[in-house]
């Protein structure tokens, strides 16, 4: 049996549309300094490092972990890069989790970042497509995402209004988030009337493009007390996939997410997610995905996500608040987002969330993912 793993320190940059004052390496450094200080540590206390970023084409630096190593002061230490598109940060944290759980490290630093202002986003994401088969028709991942939202509208009732409510909620929550840079309240009408980009996706269904980094320190149970009296314990964490062009692939319920949730819930003793979780943080690259996650994570039955958001249950004062941080709508440094969501959930159960502390939050659910919506994972954190 392996070690229990806890998040004992967190740090993120103040995300921005464009940071012209720091390089990619300097951005990483800011998050690392904050996480180490928060964990009451110095770099010397760290055994291993995981670096996670989006695709190389985002930043024009191949093996960026080997460049940023100097800025972190990581020379001499084990360092490894994990990637998974939008889910890179979460996948990196999972790799770090196993380094500690498997006894390879007592304390692991996971840092994730993307500096999206530096490259052409849609074009570089379009290279996700097979060069023989569809790349020339690709519209980043937005054309695809909109296409299957459109399909879910018919079958699951994920209407434009329901998705707009997600955007409205998350944008409202972002205003109090000190790390967010998109802070503007909007109405459902604003979202519905905003410029169509890839209909049904409209401008206000889309998060901003951001520069940002986020870091967490993971520790085994023995060392955790040296950092904090109140760590966030990882009760379960998994990340699953599905073949992108499989015959049965309907893109209704996210099957890889449902599979991951099943594993994680079993490990964490979750039998009724809607009632048991105090707070949920999800990575919504477009507003429509949050509806998909409600159903895939079992927060409501399939086809009831629109009702769930409309009921206000996922609002700040609802019984299952989702994205009190504002989610991606406040800031979206893609490769870092998985770690940002973990930070927001961890600080909730640590009782020191800076955006909106949910009272007495003890159990939090985190979701993240990437690719063609075919890489999906979740984690359960507890006080």
């Amino acid at each position: 049996m392996g070690h229990h793993v806890a998040i004992v320190g967190v740090g993120q940059t103040h995300h921005a549309r464009r940071r012209t004052d720091v390089s990619q390496a300097g951005l990483v450094r800011e998050a690392v300094d904050r996480a180490l200080a928060d964990a009451n540590m110095e770099m010397g206390d760290i055994d291993t490092i995981v670096v996670a970023t989006g695709p190389v084409l985002f930043g024009a630096v191949n093996h960026p972990e080997l460049w940023v190593a100097n800025a972190i002061g990581a020379q001499g230490k084990p360092i490894v890069r994990v990637t998974s598109g939008g889910g890179a940060g979460f996948a990196g944290a999972l790799a770090g989790y196993y380094q500690v759980a498997g006894g390879y490290a007592g304390r692991t630093l996971v840092v994730a970042y993307d500096k999206l202002s530096e490259g052409p986003l849609q074009y570089s994401i379009s290279t996700l497509y097979d060069p023989f088969w569809g790349r020339e028709f690709a519209v980043g991942i937005m054309g695809f995402s909109a296409a299957y939202w459109r399909a879910r509208m018919d079958v699951l009732g994920h209407t434009e209004e329901a998705a707009a409510m997600v955007s409205v909620k998350n944008r409202r929550n972002s205003i109090a988030n000190p790390y967010a840079h998109m802070k503007k309240e909007v109405t459902v009408e604003d979202v519905l009337n905003s410029k169509p980009l890839c209909w049904p996706i409209k401008l206000l269904d889309v998060p901003p493009i951001s520069d940002g980094a986020a870091a967490i320190v993971l520790s085994n149970e023995k060392l955790a007390a040296k950092s904090t009296q109140r760590p966030a314990i990882i009760k379960g964490m998994a990340y699953c996939c599905e073949a992108d062009n499989a015959p049965e692939r309907s893109l209704m319920i996210s099957e890889p997410l449902a599979i991951a949730a099943k594993k994680v819930y079993r490990a964490a003793g979750i039998t009724n997610p809607r009632r048991q979780f105090d707070v949920v943080e999800v990575q919504e690259p477009y507003s429509c995905f949050e509806l998909n996650y409600y159903e895939s994570l079992g927060l409501c039955p399939p086809g009831e996500a629109a009702d769930l958001v409309a009921s206000g249950a996922t609002d700040l004062d609802g019984d299952i608040p989702v994205n009190p941080s504002g989610g991606c709508m406040g800031a979206n440094p893609i490769g870092a987002v998985g770690v940002v969501r973990l930070i927001e959930a961890a600080t909730q159960v640590m009782g020191r969330n800076e955006s909106h502390q949910i009272k007495d939050a003890k159990l939090a659910l985190v979701q993240s993912g990437g690719g063609w919506a075919n890489l999906r994972g979740c984690a359960v954190l507890s006080a």
Binding site: N62, G76, V80, V82, G103, S124, C241
Partner: protein
């Protein structure tokens, strides 16, 4: 807390060829995933997770694992992409099994450098403001290292050529690498200049290929259909990014990685029967041998030929592990004896910035 042991119960590799012109990535990947189960008693249905290594820059697509999930046999399983040499994917898999979370893992690494310009893979690794514009990259680092090494150790370029020729001959004998014309030392010397004083054949030759490995926990290893090889130690380390900031006659991070692995295994590199090293150049390999304190008379070093004749970039370190497993399990194919300990090594980054070492035992 005692953590469980992890065993290698199956390995597979395609032939390593300069150009697999008639196969796509998925063809090579699915071929090794299909054959890794042979004789193990396990099937794809037993696999809990897949961890894969490949490079977006070499593959020419972003998040390239995403398009290869079916070929990887990963559908509806846990999957992770380690964008580093496959030996780091193996390291991840070992940690995952040791944590008790999973029992059976599939590790896959692949490469088709023939489809791209390998120079771009290296040039895009160095930071873009100071080093990249002046053309400093992997070859220049190897050249500078070699120049310093020859001057300091009083060795000749011919020594390098003879060393390279020996490795090519071993690879030819090993028969898992496509070699049409076996170069002798003269041919190595006569090949075109890569980075003075190194000729092209003193640098590792990029090849296409895929590697797969099946790893399981101790309990599952007992029901395997063949002799398991246990992973008993792991270590890794990183050097400063700029090669100019490093001592060219040292590989500090290799030293750190080996020490870390030795602490876990309880024995050091010197005590290995079999050693499989990855290096991007003759001098890189010679330095690694020195730094690990290896005696080529005592240990069988790179009997596979190592990375010089065949470097499937991103899969090279995992390939070393596969070769070592084969030598541990089937000593009769080599020069007999009863080897019980192997040390394997993977590296990446300009001038071997990042190193990983593992110890294997039967």
């Amino acid at each position: 807390m005692a953590l469980g042991k992890v065993a290698i119960v199956g390995t597979a590799q395609t032939e390593l060829r300069p150009v697999w012109g008639e196969a796509q990535h998925i063809d090579l990947i699915s071929a090794v995933v299909r054959s890794v189960f042979k004789g193990t008693g396990f099937s794809i249905d037993d696999v809990d997770f897949v961890i894969d290594s490949g490079s977006d820059v070499l593959d020419g697509r972003s998040i390239s694992n995403c398009g290869f999930l079916g070929a990887l046999g990963a559908h509806h399983k846990e999957e992770a992409r380690v964008e580093a040499d496959g030996i780091w994917a193996l390291q991840y898999g070992v940690n995952k099994i040791r944590s008790g979370a999973s029992s059976v893992g599939l590790i896959v690494a692949y490469s088709k450098p023939s489809e791209s310009m390998v120079e771009n893979y290296w040039a895009s690794q160095v930071e873009p403001f100071y080093q990249r514009p002046v053309g400093f990259s992997q070859r220049a680092a190897a050249g500078i290292q070699a120049q310093r090494y020859l001057a300091d150790r009083g060795r000749s370029v011919r020594d390098l050529a003879e060393f390279a020729a020996r490795r090519w001959a071993d690879a030819k004998a090993n028969a898992r690498v496509q070699i049409d014309d076996l170069p002798d030392a003269e041919a190595v010397l006569a090949s075109s200049e890569s980075a003075l004083p190194l000729t092209q054949l003193m640098m590792s030759r990029p090849v296409d290929g895929a590697i797969a490995m099946l790893i399981v926990d101790e309990a599952s290893a007992r029901r395997a259909g063949n002799n398991p090889v246990f992973i008993t130690g792991m270590g890794s380390g990183t050097d400063s990014h700029a090669y100019a900031d490093r001592d060219p006659l040292k590989l500090t991070s290799l030293e750190a990685a080996a020490a870390m692995a030795a602490r876990a295994a309880g024995w050091s590199a010197k005590e290995a029967d079999i050693v499989e090293l990855s290096a991007p150049s003759v001098v890189g390999e010679m330095l690694a041998i020195e730094i690990l304190g290896l005696d080529e008379g005592k240990a069988a070093v790179n009997r596979s030929g190592g990375a010089l004749p065949a470097d499937p970039i991103m899969a090279t370190g995992l390939c070393r592990a596969v070769e070592a497993v084969r030598q541990l399990r089937e000593p009769q194919l080599y020069d007999g004896g009863s080897p019980s300990r192997a040390l394997v090594h993977g590296t990446q980054g300009v001038g071997m910035q990042n190193n990983c070492v593992m110890t294997l035992e039967v």
